[in-house]
Structure formats: C-alpha cells, structure tokens
Symmetry: C2
Subunit: 320 residues, 2 copies
C-alpha cells in the first residue's frame, strides 16, 4: 500500500462537518470559525512502548489517541471541532490503519469531530493528534482559578487504568474485573459534556492524565493556593476494589497512577446541589475529595488522619 | 532535566502575539481569530533517519521543522499565525532543546509565528508541528485551480537539497558548493511572501516537497488537466551546476529529489509581466517551466525534444 493509498483510506474513513471548507488533500485545510468564539487548541503524542503497550489493538489506539486530546478540550470547557492526525508507522499496514481509523472515527462521531488534515510518515510507531475546539471568550476553565474555601472534586473513578497495567503485567485478578479495568485503560471517555456544564460552576479544572497528585499540583501552583485531600474519599470502581483490595496500594494507584482522563475541578460550596444534579444527569460520579486552602502545597490524609506519603508524584517523562 | 523544566525552557525561548489569550501551560491554549478570516491548518512530522540525518544539528532541525510547515501555509497563500510543537526525544537533553528552540524561534520571529502549545514525550527522535494561519474566505490557492493554457512556474531553484544529501553521502564536490547546497537542505526558506502575492495572480499552487514531478502530478490530477514541461527550463543554482555537471543526473535531482520547499504554481499568460515584477521585488527567481494542457498526464521533454523518463516519481513513504 502506498502513502497516497493510505491517505485515501484515512480520508474515506473520516467524517466531515459543514464548517470544513477544504479538508484532507491539499497543502493545508480551510476551516470556518464560528463568529465570536475563541479557538481552543491542544496537541498530544502517544509513542509505542511509552504511552501504549507494544501489541495494543489499533482500534483501541485510534480511540485513545483522540480521547486524550479531547480530554484536554474537556478540561477547558470547550466544544470540540476539528482534529489533525500525524501518524508514524513502521510499515504501510492497511489493516492497522483501518483498525486505527475505526477506533478514531467511532469516538470522533460521538463528539462530531471532523478529521481535517494530517501526515503519514515512516518511522517508529507514534501518533500525534492536534485538536481544535471553541469556547465563548473568557468562559474557558483554567488551572489558575482555584479559590480558598472551594471544594475539590473529581469525576468518575480513579486508578483503574493504572491497575489494568499492573495487573496485566502480573496476570492477577478475576477476568471480569481485569476486563473492566482494561476498558478504562484502552477506551477512556473524554468528559466533554461535563467540561461544558462546568463552565457555569467550576472555578478551575484540569484533566487528570499524569496522576491526581501531579495534576492537582499544577492547579495549586497556577492558582497560588494549597489543598487538603482525604484519601478515603477518592472514588474507586467496583473492579478496582476487587482487584486491589489493599487500601494503601489502591490509594497509591489513585493518586499517582495516571491515564485516568477524568476531570479534577474546584467549585464554591454553594454549587454542591447543582453538581449532584449534574452528576445524575450525566450518569457520572462527581466526588468531593477535599478543600482548597490558603497554605501552599498538597496535603493528603488517610482515614485515620495520617499524612499519606507518595512514592512518586505522578507520571513524568524523562524521570530516571 | 525534568519534563516540566523542558517545557519551561521551551516557553521561555518562544515569542507571543497579542492574539494569544492563553499560551503554553494549561490543558489547551486560547486563541483569538481575526474576524472574517478562514483558518488554514496543516501538520507535518519529521522523523530522525527518515526526514533528517542522524546527527543533524538541533538548530537546523528546529528551523526546518517549522519551515516545512510554513511552506504548506505559503502554498495556500495564508498568513502564518500560530504553531504547536510535539517533540519526542530519547533523553531530556537541554542542550538539544535549547539548540532546537534557537533554530525554531529564529524562523518564527521572521514570520511572526507564536508557539502556543505542544507536548514533550520520551521516544525515538521526531518532531510534529501543527501550524495555523489565516486567509480571507475564498482567496486561498488550491491545487485544483490549474487551467488549460496557463503557464507553469516554480520559485527559486530545484534540486539543491537532494544534491546536498547525495554529495554528502559521497563526499564529492567543492567545499563552497557543498555548503551552499547544505544550507538549502538544512535551512529551507518558506515562500510565505510569495504565496501571499500569488493570491492575485496564480490559479493553482503547491509546495514542492516530494519532488517536482510528484507534486505537479497532484496539481494536475486535482485540476483534471495535464502539463508539458521543458527540462531545460528548470531553474538550477550555481552550486548545483558546479556540483552536478551531468545534465541528466541534475535533471533527475530537480524532478524527483524532493525537499525543495519552493512553490509550483500556474498563472494566465497575461500575468507574465506582473510575475517578473514580483520576482524582482522578492529577489526570488520565478521561472516559467511549461504549460498546462487539456491532455492528462505530465510530459517532460529535454532540450532536443525527447521525453525524459523518470526513475521514480518522487519521494514517497512506504515505497520499497
């Protein structure tokens, strides 16, 4: 299969949007921006052996590569619009590309994202996606808005993806629980609807990709505040409770495991009822896990009030 | 050096623009689009050992990674605005990143491009840049606009970069000529000003990155036309004439070598004088090399009128 046949396959498997004036096939794409909207843009790379296991199903990779990017838009409270796909492949493997595009397009369709351009090159397997979305001016959710006295929330459950990776390595746990955790690792759901709804409620937001502790640290530093977090409040899935019964090990996964793609956000206590309603509407747990304080730093305590020490802050590239 | 120190280094070495509402440092960037403009977006990946030699100077790589992307915007007749940088590195090498950003920023400054986001990851050395520019609605230059009877032009000179690669491999040619060719390989000049000026003149345009023959083929297919090209008219630099005196070998480099980053474009014959004036104003050769014809296909003839046979159409990934 030639490079141009690959590009043609990718084009045939992607959807359009009326605001795409010119899509894949020229030197660049032409896009029509809704008047009065700011652009919200982000880019993320996934490298084989670093961000995903050798042998990851191409369908899952296509889904996840888009999901991790949409998660960044969700954390800003933006509506997704367009994506560009830079795909580096060792071989022109049409079955791989077909699978990749199936996963990519399934998620793209759910969020009405049009693939508007890209590049296919030969090299070690890696994917870089750039996403472009929209938000009304000054309505985006920033990391820097957390206020003292506000509650700290997370969506969904934490630690599932990290547990999947660990259990997979050791082949431990029941099959059903492992499958549930694997689904969370391979097919994260970007919290786009939540991000949009939080525009009216949250004072700050971030997507939890490197681990809760590390990502909360970004919010606290950007906002010039600190936080008190109760480890016992961290939301855990049934599958995680079953697969990792030890509280300490489980808490560590939840705080530092990474790959959750949930949203962490802060909101004034008066919004508690609105958030409970939103949680029901979205069928998504929104759990209060702590409070923003003026004293800098992140303080995490266990059920008996003792400080939880972290083995590492979270996932970071280039760490030994 | 940690991932966050790297990001901080990249941020410090990049410039802003007033239309960047929020730059590097949150989940996504917020950008203000000039009213009434279409967005023009493109993405290109460079992989070590495929698009650039192992041991390429980081300064040159930073320049070139941005240049090849700006060349795509130039071919559309767009004004560059913003770039996102996804950088995959084997190690957190701060000297490398500093060099890369020096090259990147030198070119970014020339074209007033702001770096507005990105991702740094660990893995085999590769760079993906996404560029976003602007053009008034329906004023962009497309591949599909070539008309029968129009003249076919290229900017600058062709074959220099391909010759640099070949001579470098064989260590042939005089030092001065080799240095001139190397500069064309390592520091291509995106023809942004030319692209903007061509909005009023050209009927179609493309950036010549894969080799003239292959890229012209794209224009001809998209426009549903053919072309007659005279090989003797192909513009050659002094350095190329000196380094590759054999006409046939030189013509082959010019037609299929790739990495030129010049613009190929078509224009009505009545624009010949305007193009001569433009060439003088930009200090850039604009050379008529042939004519658009109704009969499909690309016909290249040498000085004696014989058809030139190509060894290969041009650079293509995944070809054996």
């Amino acid at each position: 299969m030639s490079e141009f046949e690959l590009i043609d396959l990718i084009r045939r498997m992607s959807r359009g949007r009326p605001d795409v004036r010119l899509g894949i096939g020229d030197d660049a794409s032409l896009l029509y921006v809704p008047p009065g909207q700011e652009l919200v843009v982000s880019t993320d790379t996934l490298v084989e052996g670093v961000h995903f296991r050798v042998g990851t199903k191409p369908d899952d990779l296509g889904w996840k590569a888009l999901a991790v990017n949409l998660s960044d838009l969700a954390a800003m409270g933006a509506v997704p619009g367009w994506a560009l796909l830079a795909l580096t492949l060792p071989h022109a493997d049409s079955a791989f590309v077909r699978g990749f595009m199936r996963g990519f397009s399934t998620l793209a369709r759910q969020h009405e994202v049009a693939l508007v351009g890209g590049d296919t090159t030969r090299g070690p397997l890696a994917v870089t996606i750039t996403v472009i979305g929209f938000a009304p001016p000054k309505r985006s959710l920033l990391r820097s808005g957390a206020l003292v006295g506000h509650d700290l929330y997370v969506s969904g459950t934490l630690g599932d993806a990290a547990a999947a990776l660990r259990l997979d390595r050791h082949k431990r746990g029941r099959v059903a629980a492992r499958a549930a955790l694997r689904a969370r690792l391979d097919r994260p759901e970007p919290r786009v609807a939540l991000g949009l709804a939080l525009r009216d409620v949250a004072s700050a937001a971030i997507d939890i990709s490197d681990g809760l502790a590390a990502d909360l640290g970004h919010v606290l530093r950007a906002s010039g505040v600190g936080a008190h977090v109760e480890a016992a409040l961290l939301p855990a899935s049934e599958a995680l409770l079953e697969a990792v019964p030890d509280t300490r090990a489980r808490t560590d996964l939840q705080l530092t495991g990474g790959d959750d793609y949930e949203l962490g956000f802060t909101a004034a206590p008066r919004h508690a009822a609105a958030l409970a309603t939103l949680s029901r509407r979205l069928h998504l747990p929104l759990t209060r896990i702590g409070t923003i304080e003026s004293r800098r730093g992140l303080r995490i305590v266990d059920a008996s009030g003792r400080r939880v020490a972290l083995k590492r802050a979270g996932y970071e590239h280039f760490k030994a």
